[in-house]
Symmetry: C2
Amino acid sequence: MVSKEKSTGKPAPAARAPRTPERAHPVTLREVAEAAGVSTATVSLVINQKKNARIADETRQRVKDAIRQLGYRPNALAKTLVSGTSKFIGLVADGVATTPFAGQIIHGAQDEAWKHGYALLIANTEGNRDLEKDAIAMMLEYKVRGILYSTWFHRPTAIPETLREADFVLVNCFSPEPGAARAVVPDEEQGGQSATEILLRGGHRRIAFINATIPAPAKDGRLQGYQDALEAAGIPFDPELVLEAYPDQEGGYGATAELLKRNVTAVYCYNDRMAMGLYDGLRENGLSVPDDIAVVGFDNQEVIAAHLRPPLSTVSLPHYELGAAGVRMLLGLDEASNDAAVKIACPAVERASVTAHSPA
Amino acid sequence: MVSKEKSTGKPAPAARAPRTPERAHPVTLREVAEAAGVSTATVSLVINQKKNARIADETRQRVKDAIRQLGYRPNALAKTLVSGTSKFIGLVADGVATTPFAGQIIHGAQDEAWKHGYALLIANTEGNRDLEKDAIAMMLEYKVRGILYSTWFHRPTAIPETLREADFVLVNCFSPEPGAARAVVPDEEQGGQSATEILLRGGHRRIAFINATIPAPAKDGRLQGYQDALEAAGIPFDPELVLEAYPDQEGGYGATAELLKRNVTAVYCYNDRMAMGLYDGLRENGLSVPDDIAVVGFDNQEVIAAHLRPPLSTVSLPHYELGAAGVRMLLGLDEASNDAAVKIACPAVERASVTAHSPA
C-alpha cells in the first residue's frame, strides 16, 4: 500500500527499507457469497446470467451489490471456456516496429474491436515465418474469434496454411488467388487521382510523376490514378513526364536533374519521403516551392509532410480505417466478398506546397 | 478449400459464384482418441501432462502422434483456468498511434514475452482515462501475469488505482511517489552526455544546446548531460549557449537567428525534428553542415535522422530495450527496486553531420 501522505523532499529513513508494493488481494467468489449471504453456486449463477436459474430479484441485487462493493473480477477465461470462442481478435502484423504506419492499423483495429466487446491480441512477426506460425498457433489455442493478417505495405501475400483454420481477413494485403480470402486495401488509384487533382485545381497542366522503381500495387495504382486524372481534365498523357526513383529522400533528391529537363510546373511524388528529398534538390537549383514548382506527396507521413518548408500537400494512407474495416468485416458487420478486396479511400490533405498557378 | 491450380487470367464461370472459404473443421479431442485407439480421458491426461497418470510410454507416444498428425490444438484457456494465471502479459500504452516510437516498445516487449512463453495483450488508450480503466479491468479478468504501463514520452505518471491489483512495471514513465513502483526509463543524462561528446570528439569547444521549452525529464536530463560532458572536457559551462525552442522542425528553424549570434562551431539539438528545421535555417543563411556548423540531434527518429542532407548524428532512444527490460523486470529476471527507476542507455549514432573541426 502506498502512503497517503504527500512526499516532502527526502524519504524518511523507514521508507528506505526495500519494499514491494503490496499486490491487492484478489476478491474470491466465496467472499462475495459471504457478503451477500448466499451460496457460491448462487453467485456463480448470477455472474453467468443463467437464463433458467430461479433467483429472487432481491437476492440477485444483493449479489450484484456485493460484487461491486468488493470489486470482484469474474474470470473471463472461464466464460470463454464455456462459449468455445474467446472475446479476442488476433492481429498478426509483419512490421509493427519498422514503420510508423503499422501503429495506425493497430489503433483502428483496437478501437473497433473494443466497440464490439473484443480485445486485440497482437503478434509482431517482422516477416519471420516461424514466428508467424507460432503466433497463429497461439491465437488458435486461445480460441480467438478471428484473425486479421496485416502487412506494413500494400502487397499480394500467400495465405499461411494455419491461418485457414481461423476466420480471417487480410489487411493491407490480398491473395493473388481469385476467391481465396476477404481483404481490405487502400484505394491507390483514387489516391493517385486525388493527388494529381490537387495540382490540376492549382491550374497546372504539365505535371510530372516521380514513381517508385519497386514493383508494388501502389506503383501501378498511383500511376493509373495520375493517368485517370489527366484524362478527366482533357490533358493527353505524356510518358516522358513519368520518372522513376527509389522511394526515399535520396531517390527524390537524385531525380531533381531529370525532372528539371521536363519543363513542368508541378510534380507529384510517389511518397512524402521522395518529396522531402526533392525539396532539397530544388532548393539547390535555386527553385522555390510552390512558386517555381508545386509539389504533392503521398502517405501523409505526419512527421515529414506537416513539417517541411513549406508544408507538403499529400494524400493520406488510411491505415486506421484499414484496421477498423478489417474488424468489421471479420465480425460480419461490413459486407465483404472473397472475390475482390474492399478498397478504402485515401483522402487528400492540402497544404502550402501548391498554390494557384497561372499558365503562361 | 482453395484450388491447387494456378490462376490463369480470368476465373472460370464457376469461380464467380459467391463462396466463403471453408473454415477447416477444428479437430476434436474425440477424433484424437479414436485415431490413437484410446479413451478421451487418456488423451486429456497426456495433453495436460499429469504427473501421476499411469500411461504406458507406447500409448502416450500414440496419442502424441495422433495429435500431431491430425493437427489438434489444445485449448490454452482451459490450462489457464486450472493454473489461475494466464500466459498473457498486458501492455497499456497511451499513444500507439500518435508516435512512431511506441511501436518499438511493443516490439521489444513482445519479443521478450515470447521468449518466455507469454503472449502480449495490448491496449491503446490514447490517454483516455475511461478507456484505460476498462483496459486494465479486461486484463485483470483475463488473469494476466502482469501489466506493463507505458507512456509514449518519458514522464512522471500517477498510478491508476486498478493497476495496483496486478503485478506491474512502469515503462518510459515513473511514479513521483518514492518507493511506489518499479520503472524503466531512458537514461537522458547519459544520452545528453553522449550527444555532446560526439561534438567534443570532432574538436568543437563552443557548442550550443537548443533545449525544449516544454518541462520534461528529457529537458532536465539532456541539459545535465551536456553540462557533464563539458565539465569532463574542462570547458566552462556558459548559460548563454543554451537556447530554448518548441521541440519540432519549426522550433529548430526559428532558433537559427539566435544561434548565429552565439558564434559557435557546433550545436546539439534536443531532438531530431529540431535539427531538421535548423538545417533549413542554416541553409537559408548560406551555412553548410558540417563544414560551417556541426549538428547533433536526439531520438534517432529513423525517417528523419538517416535521411537528412547530410545524415544526422544523433542518440537513440532505446524504446525496444525499454519494452524488453519491462518484461524481464515483471518476470523477475532483471533486478529492479521500487526506489529508483532502472535507466537504459541511449547509444550514440554517428553520421555525416559532424566532421573533425580544427579550432582557429
